[in-house]
Structures are given as C-alpha cells and as structure tokens.
C-alpha cells in the first residue's frame, strides 16, 4: 500500500518546530531542523537549519548549513554556507565558509566568511620586524 521510502531515518529526518510551538533550552538534533515557530536557548545540529519566514530563533546556532528567512538574535557558526533571504533579520555575528545575502535582508553583526585571510604586505612587514626584535 505504501512505499518503503516512507520510513523515517533519524539521520535524514527533519525535526520541525511548527508555528504553534516554542522550544526553550539546549536543543541538539542529528538531522535537519526546520523552524517555523520559536526557539530560545541554544541550537546545534550536524545537518542544516531552515528558519522559515515568521520563525524566530533567539539562540546561538551551530549547523552545517543555514537558510534564514526569519528573525535570529544570536551568533551563527556554520561549517559551510549561510543564505539570508530578503525577509531575514539577523542580529549577531556570523562565521561560515560562504555567505549569500538577498536584497532586503538585514544583518547587524560581524561577519567572518571563508578561511583565515592571507596577511597583507604591511602586516607581513610588521610581523618580520617583530621577529627580528625578538631574535
């Protein structure tokens, strides 16, 4: 009657915080997390976070990827990519490998995108001078 692909696998499953639900505390998930409601505290997942329009997160977030269309108050530490859509309102620092911001999105905070930047010529000179003094 139903296909075998109906089975829920925890590593692939999506935790869904619906519009009528608020979650408070330390929220750790294995699979993707979809937030349509409210989350306050801290959030960590090995997979992706989808914050839908109307959804609110007041927490520091750690995830693999983050797609933000709602409101976030907290820092975002993402291993790969952050996507801010036009309705996103983010107040906090972000740290990721790549960032995409759609026109209309609001971002208040420091951004660290990509790996460690190469030192500028001036910084290299200063570092060399300091090494010489130490020697």
């Amino acid at each position: 009657m139903f296909g075998k692909d109906l089975k829920i696998k925890p590593e692939e499953a999506e935790t869904i915080i619906g519009a009528g639900v608020k979650v408070e505390g330390t929220f750790n998930a294995v699979g993707n997390v979809v937030v349509k409601g409210e989350l306050v505290g801290s959030m960590e997942t090995q997979s992706d976070v989808y914050l839908m329009e109307g959804g609110v997160i007041e927490a520091n977030i750690k995830a693999s990827n983050a797609i933000i269309a709602g409101r976030v108050k907290g820092n975002l530490k993402v291993e790969e990519k952050i996507e801010l859509s036009s309705t996103a309102r983010l107040s906090g620092d972000i740290n990721c490998q790549s960032l995409s911001i759609e026109e209309g999105a609001i971002l208040h905070g420091k951004c660290k995108v990509g790996g460690d930047p190469k030192l500028s010529a001036k910084e290299k000179k200063q570092q060399k001078e300091q090494q010489e003094i130490e020697e």
Binding site: I8, K9, P10, A13, I16, I17, A19, G20, V21, V23
Partner: protein, 261 residues
C-alpha cells in the same frame, strides 16, 4: 510451539468461513497450535501470561484486530517469545506497517518467520506498543531533560513508537505527508498539531506541523490541581506526571517482506 489468540469479535458467525480457511492453511503449513479464544472472562494479558508460564519461547499469534495485538505484545517484551499477527480486518494499520496480508494469506508470513526486533515505549514503567496521546493545554513538557516544548494553540500531542505519521512538512498550504515511525531507532516521534479554523461550516481541522525525535519525555501538570489525562494505545488512561521513554527490552515480531519498518 505455536499459540493462537482469537479476538473476541471473531465469535460472530460471519467470521466462521474466514477462521476455517485460516485453520486449514495453518494445518497445511504444519504450524497449527493451541487456540485461545478471548471473551469477557478471558483477557489477552491473562492468556499471554499463562502461555509464558507453559513455554519459555512460544510463538504467540494474534488472530483479529490491532488493539488485541497491541495488548498481547506488551507482556512479551524482553522475553524469548515471538509475536505474530493474522489480521482479519482490511483497515488494519499495523498490518500495513508490518507488511502482512489479511486472513489466510498471512499464514504464509507466519510460516516464513521473518523476525524483527522492535522497540516498545514505556510510560511510568508500563509498556505501550503503538502511541500515546494527550492534550497539552495544562501540561509542562520536557524533552530529553534538555529543552522544554511549549505548545501554543496546540490541540493534541502524540508520542509514537509504531504508527503512521501524518504531518505538514513544508510551509502553509503544502500537503500532508504520510510516513511511518521507525520502531528500531531507539527514538520516539513526537507529533503536535495546531487547531485550524476552517471558514466553511466553522469546522475545526487539526494541522499537525511539529515533529520532534526524543528518547525521554516528561509530562507534568502545570498546576497540581489540574488533571492531565494520557491515552495509551488508544485504550488505557494514565494521569500525569508521566515519564515516557523507549523501553530497553525489545519485542520479537514476525513481519512480511513488504513491511514498512
């Protein structure tokens, strides 16, 4: 040894032909066994406990409906017993999940003895097979001792071990998805829904759009004066406070090759 528990509704004459076909098929497969018929005087758990006293590793087959299977399965958790099911109703949800055909066709599945070890849920040290349900209005819900789930406008909460899940995965307007819980992953699925008012006829329709995976869930009444009633396996009622978790003991169950778990 095989033991067969016949559901109480099978005493009706219309099931005579079906039962005769089932018994003939079981005999031809050489798996006929002792029959126990349920009645007002003989409960499922009473019969199951009696069988366990007689045999350490029996195969207990329920012939009948989902409710009786749920009840018969509970005392078998953690024992050497194996449970099987011959559904006699076409609308059996558990038969769909376990991949069982109805009536005499299920006898071949029993004979094939394809066994899965599945979880049972536990509520206040009492097992449950399928799911529990309660109204969250007056309750405090704590998941895995780490986060609180605060339902706003939520009509009902369903904690599932083995059942179909119907929920709205996407944004508003997206169709409901139908999935099956995984009773082998040591997690319970928690499904919640907000009541949605339909303009036409002002009918309340529930929209289940929250899904959590938990190992432990505690339910406490917000106010000790208020009662929070929890329906277990669609039958028994338990009062909160309650601790719901996955039982350590597993259940040996016979499944068909078309199973969804």
């Amino acid at each position: 040894m095989y033991f067969y528990i016949y559901d109480s509704f099978l005493v009706k004459k219309k099931y005579d032909k079906t039962l005769s076909k089932i018994e003939t098929r079981l005999a031809s497969l050489d798996i006929a066994g002792r029959k126990h018929k349920l009645s007002i005087l003989k409960s499922v758990s009473e019969i199951t406990h009696k069988i366990l006293e007689q045999d350490i590793s029996p195969t207990i087959v329920v012939v009948g409906g989902d409710e009786t299977l749920c009840e018969a399965a509970l005392p078998l958790a953690g024992t050497e017993a194996t449970i099987g099911f011959i559904p006699t109703e076409n609308d059996s949800l558990i038969a769909d999940i376990l991949g069982l055909p109805v009536n005499e066709y299920a006898c071949d599945v029993i004979s094939a003895r394809r066994i899965e070890y599945i979880n049972l849920g536990k509520i206040n040290n009492q097992y449950f097979f399928s799911s529990i349900e309660f109204e969250p209005k007056q309750s405090l819900i704590l998941a895995d001792k780490k986060y609180q789930i605060i339902p706003k406008k939520i009509k009902s909460v369903k904690v599932i071990n083995l059942d179909f899940l119907r929920f709205q995965k996407g944004i508003d307007g997206s169709p409901e998805e139908k999935m099956v819980s995984n009773p082998k992953d040591d997690y319970l699925e928690v499904l919640m829904g907000a009541s949605q008012q339909k303009l036409l006829f002002f009918k309340q329709k529930e929209k289940r759009d929250s899904l959590f995976f938990v190992k432990k869930l505690s339910i406490d009444p917000k106010n000790p004066k208020n009662e929070v009633l929890i329906k277990v396996d669609q039958k028994n009622i338990i009062k909160a406070p309650a601790l719901i978790e996955v039982a350590k003991e597993k259940l040996k169950i016979i499944v068909g090759k078309d199973r969804l778990i």
